[in-house]
């Protein structure tokens, strides 16, 4: 008969083993479906480890306690800028893979901090533009230079490689958008959205869509919401695909798994009514390539 001590020791060993199990602790900024989609993607690839989801604690103290009490073999995966910013301020000693971001957040140069943003490689955007608007020659880029100068230049380079001439228009403040759009009105065959929140946000969307509609300058939207609102088409990473990518980064941070495979699956949306208004002819086989069609 085993003595209680051995039982206790066995239990503690098992418990210790459990506590030392590699763990992915996901902290979503919000509970919206897109965040759940990313979480689902993480779970798909990190099936061999424990994946927990913990809502972002409401107070800094609670967050610091959560981080502090996390086991050593844990990687933190904040989803969204709110959670990423909060965890960055908590300065955890654990590895962090910040996902589902528009812009990189966190300490630069820290090898234990990785970032996965939602930004599409500009060449992907440019190639889709070529596919949908093969006769276009100029593409407008509206941006806030303080926020997106590098991004705009990268996109401009991709557009040139795709045979398009970029037309850059600066809008340092929301009130400058109107003037910048006037500049593009007769110069740009289309307007490409970039994740620059000074310029492209739900509040400025009306101005931009009104401009697009009035002057028949198609907008390439940031997301399905923009396509539904009237952009000609939109491109974004599929949320689960992004989650799978983040999951791979998290496994790598835990020392498990190889190099993360780059994201490939896009969520593409097209608005046929916008296309008709813009006099853009979309062959049926091209429409069939879009995952979502608004009409």
């Amino acid at each position: 008969m085993m003595r209680p001590g051995w039982i206790l020791l066995s239990w503690l060993t098992l418990a210790g083993a459990a506590l030392a199990e590699p763990r992915v602790l996901v902290v979503p900024s919000f509970g919206d479906p897109p965040y759940q989609g990313v979480l689902a993607g993480i779970r798909q690839v990190a099936f061999e480890v424990r994946v927990d989801s913990q809502a972002l604690p409401p107070t800094r103290e609670a967050l610091e306690r959560l981080v502090k009490e996390a086991a050593p073999d844990t990687v933190l995966v904040p989803l969204g800028s709110r959670a990423a910013q909060a965890i960055a301020e908590a300065n955890p000693a654990l590895p962090v893979v910040a996902c589902f971001l528009l812009n990189a957040i966190g300490p630069k140069g820290n090898p234990s901090w990785q970032t996965a943003t939602l930004e599409l490689p500009p060449d992907i955007q440019a190639n889709w533009i070529r596919r949908v608007l093969p006769t276009a020659r100029t593409a407008g880029i509206l941006y806030n230079p303080a926020e997106s100068a590098a991004r705009a230049e990268a996109l401009a380079g991709a557009l040139r490689r795709a045979g398009l001439s970029p037309q850059l228009a600066e809008a340092p403040r929301p009130v400058d958008i109107t003037t910048a759009l006037e500049h593009l009105r007769d110069r740009a065959d289309l307007l490409v959205s970039i994740p620059d929140l000074t310029v492209f946000n739900p509040i400025t969307a009306k101005t931009i869509m009104l401009f697009s509609y009035r002057h028949r300058v198609p907008v390439i939207g940031l997301s399905q919401a923009w396509a539904r609102a009237g952009a000609l088409f939109s491109l974004e990473w599929d949320h689960e695909e992004h989650g799978r990518y983040c999951g791979q980064l998290a496994l790598k941070a835990l020392g498990i798994g190889g190099r993360a495979q780059p994201q490939r699956k896009l969520l593409t949306s097209v608005n046929l009514r916008a296309a008709a208004h813009m006099h853009v002819v979309l062959p049926p086989d091209l429409v069939g390539m879009f995952s979502t069609v608004f009409d």
Partner: protein
Amino acid sequence: MHSVTALRSDEPHRSRPVAGACRRLCAAGACRRVGTAVPRSRVRAPVRLCRTAVAWLAIATPVAFGGSTDPADERALFSDIPVFAASRFEQPAADAPADVTVITAADIERFGYRTLAEVLRAVRGFSASYDYNYSYLGTRGFALTGDYNTRLLLLLDGHRLNDNVYDQALLGQEGVLDIALIDRIEIVRGPSSSLYGSNALFGVINIVSRRGRDVQGATVRVEASGRGGTAAGATVGQRLPGGTEYLIAVGAGRDPGEKRLYFSEFADTPSGGFALDADTDRWRRAFTRVRHADLEITAGFSQRLKSLPTAPFGTTFNDKRTQTLDERSFLRLAYNHALDSGAHWEVRGSFDEYRFAGDYYQDAPTPVVTRDRVVSRWLALGAEWSQRLGSEHRLVAGLEWERDVLTNFTSTDTHADAAPIRYADIHNGSAHQGVYAQDEWRLRDGLLVSFGLRYDRYRGFPGEVSPRAALVYQLDPETTFKLLYGHAFRAPNLNELHYFDGSSSRANPKLRPEHVRTAELVVARRFGPLVQVTANLYRYRITGLITQDENQEDFLTFGNNAQVAIVGGSLGLEGQLARGLVWKLGVSRDVPRADWAARDLIVAARVQAKAALAAPVRELAHLAVEALYDGPRHTLAGQRIGGQTLTNVTITLPALADGVKARLSAYNAFDRRLAVPAGPEFEQTVLTQPRRSVWLNLEASFQ
């Protein structure tokens, strides 16, 4: 061929062979006891200036008022963005320093409007009448018989369309642009001389034409009416990759009009009071708009020949030879450049021509035809600068110059057996310069002050200074208050200054401009995304109103004879319901103040009401109905015309076939006998308006 004998100015005044001696030359509102003076003015800039005047109409932005700040996170990607559906509420801009209405191409198509007059007649605060030659607009309780819309400035893409002889704004089939080429119409109410100079007493109507990108292919349209009218037009346009854009359009039409038009005043004529086949209307137009980079070229031509069934100016009743020809053409170049700093500058030049020919036949006492001929050409230049300073100020400044290069203005009586006699032979021209500036100062989010000032100098009288101020306060994202005050003026036109025929009319080169001062309050409130309410109250006084009266020698002469003061207001409601149903209501009321002195000249209805409804029918068609009520008014003789309602119905099949749409419209659908006061050039005291007509429109697009 008889030679023309000019009548010397020192010959004794004698009665003209033709009774009444009122000629088209006189009229342009001239030749009668009502003033028509059309100020000469310089048109302001192109669309950019107009856009400034209406403060970024249609692209006004809630961003401008701040509102809630955008979320600085990834949720911006999937936050709900309102679906853009070209809501009628995209305009007017909340911070435009005026009460503004915008009519879109969709509205025009939906309600089957065929002319600009039909469009404007349905707008809150406006009314229209027709004398079987021209269409006339009344607004804010002001309408003078025979006034050729001289107190409204009509622009096409910012280019002035009022001619420089009569300052007439052509609103009917005599108009310059085919209605199918209109992208939208911006109606800016109130005095606008601070930006546009003369003419804009009651407002500015800017037509924005379609561009190549709006066609992107070709469009062909044909029309036919139940009474034998036909019209056709074709448009090609394209925006080429890289930005070059062009549009070319031609059109023509013929309408026999009212084939049997009865006037009791002529009951004792051989036709028994019927004007038979004497209402023929023929027109043709051409328009082009080309843009490459910063340079835009626009040109237009219109020609319209109209028979006059009403026997004006004492002409023989039922004589189909009595007719008028209006021809208007222009060429405009504009170079507009945006600097990296956000500033814009523009230089522009235009060349315009207006031609008029009127042939008036009279058989008694001796057969004679009076031929009025006008040829006028003028050159205009302008430059403008606009700049945003910080986030608080938006400045606009510009200057304009205009000069007549040719003016031939003659009136000749041709007898069968005598040499022609030239009664009027005028070659006076004019020149004008103007400089203006406007600042829109955003004091803080939701509070904007606008101040504009313009100085105009005309040959022959002192310069005019026209200020305008506006305070625009946005109480919340749905509610806007505007307090507006402005001065405007109208310079007397060539006809009023110089017309002289030696027998019945005298020139008055001492004429001075008339002035208006207007104070106005506008409140606009949106109830959700579906309903908008706009109300305005105004008070204005016109001093030095130019009217024609008999002088001490019994000659008709224009003078600054009268003043008008009116208090009024209007209320407009419009909304959208589910499934594409749109509706609008409008009422207006004007009250003359006790001290006005031109009561007998004003024949506008004091009360107006408008209602319109458009709804889809079984997803195949759209039905649109509008009812326009004009309250009681009086004739020049003081007779009362009761209130009357005009109802129009249009059914549209937007997808009859691939690329083909059809529209069937019934104007005056209930065939009501409507009447408007007649001017002094008519024997009639009232003119019955056209009876019911039905038009079928087919349009095919090729892309």
